[in-house]
């Protein structure tokens, strides 16, 4: 191996380490036995996981986050896919403006969105309810769907949809039998990323959740503020595992599709 290649490997390795070490340290600490968060851990125990599983508030927060994530994934994917079809296949005045508008929540500062949503939802007495979080998370997750599904639509051949029409399928049946199946991997990815967007979102959860709707990230944030309970590290590790699982779903669906079309 030449010196240049070695340097490249070291450089790449350093970047990977920088990206992964924080997560690895938290995961390692979560298996430590001591009450004080300490690295390297002094031993191995499931103590903090047991603590998590036995804790009502932690479990309630987890279920809320999971339910919220699934609802957001479903709503954002449905709305975002229709929006992407309109933007990619449609021809109407102001198409580019609509596209920008739909993607804007992705670039707007979350804190500004959070404040705006708070002011918007407060008169409706929605702040502090899961509905507020559902609306807010769907808003920030939808642009991801628009981008991913839109890119997939641009790659598919529009004449396939014309063919379906000529063969006797109306708009809806063309959508159901042809358009959606051909972009299915993108829809799975979209749903997974929409889920994750909601599942690990903390700013909107703090602003809009209140005590009535404490998601997992919000509870963690409160836990960190008060005292550093080692249970937090166990929860963090679970959060990472769930995220990895979502990414695995995406990858598997892509591979499945490739082998079908190979």
């Amino acid at each position: 191996m030449s010196a240049g290649r070695l340097a490249l490997w070291l450089y790449g390795g350093a970047i990977v380490a920088f990206l992964c070490l924080p997560i690895a340290i938290v995961a390692a600490v979560s298996f430590g036995p001591s009450v004080i968060v300490h690295f390297p851990p002094a031993g191995f125990s499931w103590r903090w996981y047991a603590n998590y599983v036995g804790s009502g508030p932690w479990l309630a927060a987890t279920w809320l986050s999971v339910e919220l994530g699934i609802a957001v994934a479903a709503a954002a994917t449905a709305l975002g896919t229709f929006a992407a079809i309109a933007i990619v296949r449609g021809q109407f005045l102001g198409r580019r403006a609509v596209e920008f508008l739909l993607i804007s929540p992705m670039v707007a500062p979350t804190i500004v969105l959070a404040l705006g949503l708070y002011l918007l939802l407060a008169p409706w007495k929605l702040v502090g309810t899961p509905i507020a979080l559902f609306l807010a998370h769907t808003l920030v997750a939808m642009p991801i769907v628009v981008v991913i599904a839109g890119a997939a639509l641009k790659r598919t051949d529009a004449s396939m949809e014309l063919a379906a029409r000529s063969l006797g399928a109306g708009f809806w049946r063309t959508l159901w039998y042809v358009t959606l199946p051909t972009i299915r991997p993108a829809l799975v990815s979209s749903a997974a990323f929409a889920f994750l967007t909601s599942f690990d979102e903390v700013v909107l959860a703090i602003f809009l959740g209140g005590p009535g709707a404490a998601t997992l990230p919000k509870r963690m944030w409160e836990g960190i503020k008060n005292e550093l309970d080692p249970t937090l590290t166990a929860v963090s590790t679970i959060l990472v595992v769930v995220s990895l699982a979502a990414l695995a779903v995406v990858e598997l669906s892509r591979r499945g599709e490739r082998s079908r079309q190979a």
């Binding site: 014309l162 029409r165 000529s166």
Partner: protein, 366 residues
Amino acid sequence: MADRPGISLSLRVLTKRYGRQTVVDAVELDVAAGEFLTLLGPSGSGKSSILMMVAGFTPPSSGDVVLGGRSVASLAPEKRNIGVVFQNYALFPHMTVAENVGFPLKMRRLPRAERDARVTETLARVGLAGFDGRLPAQLSGGQQQRVALARALVFAPGLLLMDEPLGALDRNLRERMKHEIRRIHAEFGVTVVYVTHDQEEALTMSDRIALLDRGRIAQLGTAREIYERPKTRFVAEFVGESSLIPGTLVEDGGRWWLDGSAGRLPVPREAAAFAGRSALLMLRPEKLRLVAAESRSGVPGTVIEAVFVGEALRTVVRIEGAAIVVKTATRAGEFRPIVGAPVRVDWDPADLAVLPGEERATADLA
């Protein structure tokens, strides 16, 4: 399907405008039931736009599409019962061959058993028996083409539209598919409107050709009429190779002549219609003969190029004021032109066509 004959198609002042640009300009066309009609033209001539309007994918700006005596201009594409074959086949990648071909029957809510029977039968008729379970990605280009044909014909439409269907195939396969499409047309008895920019496809496959130029039909006729009796310079130049010699038509001694830069050339009797006006004499390369310079017939010139192209010898002869392309057989004993040597080009006036001349008509250098 002889028991399901094709239906007639009529375009009535069909027009398509995009903003200030008119891509299809008041086209009038009648296609007879069971006919194979080709819309031929360069890109941007409006041929695909006509197809899109007939299929119902884009609404006409004005005018009407009449299918079997019934106006379909306001009908959604799924209600028109027209088969369409696309250049890239547009097969559904997530469906098997049988599912692709069965799709139009499923949309028509045919019972499963009947569907399967008709899919099997149609696949056999396009030469794809036994391919039912394959996915489109597992097929060759020619096979995909056949699936697309089967899918567009399985529901027995009266009209089949084909948009450059051979464009994506290699040369040999294209040759074979040309004949296959002709055979399928004859067997199914369906009316076909075929779009292509390839004049060879148009000439060999069509009952009639509509040659389009900037959104209008430049000429409508059989392959032979279009090739041998083009009405305009555009038609003569787009279809086949031709040499054009400008001049004025005059009568002298009971025969017609073209007076031009190349001297006085004999022309066919029909040219009388252009008497006294400027005209273009069109010479097709294979209708010309090369004769020795000492000969008394023909027009004198000099050989400036002679290329062996396989089935023929392609010779360019410079005569006074023009260059003429001559294609001669390569049989033994045929006259052999020598580059740089004098030669004479001869023809039978009946083999020529005369076109209206243009204001600034110039000799076309081939």
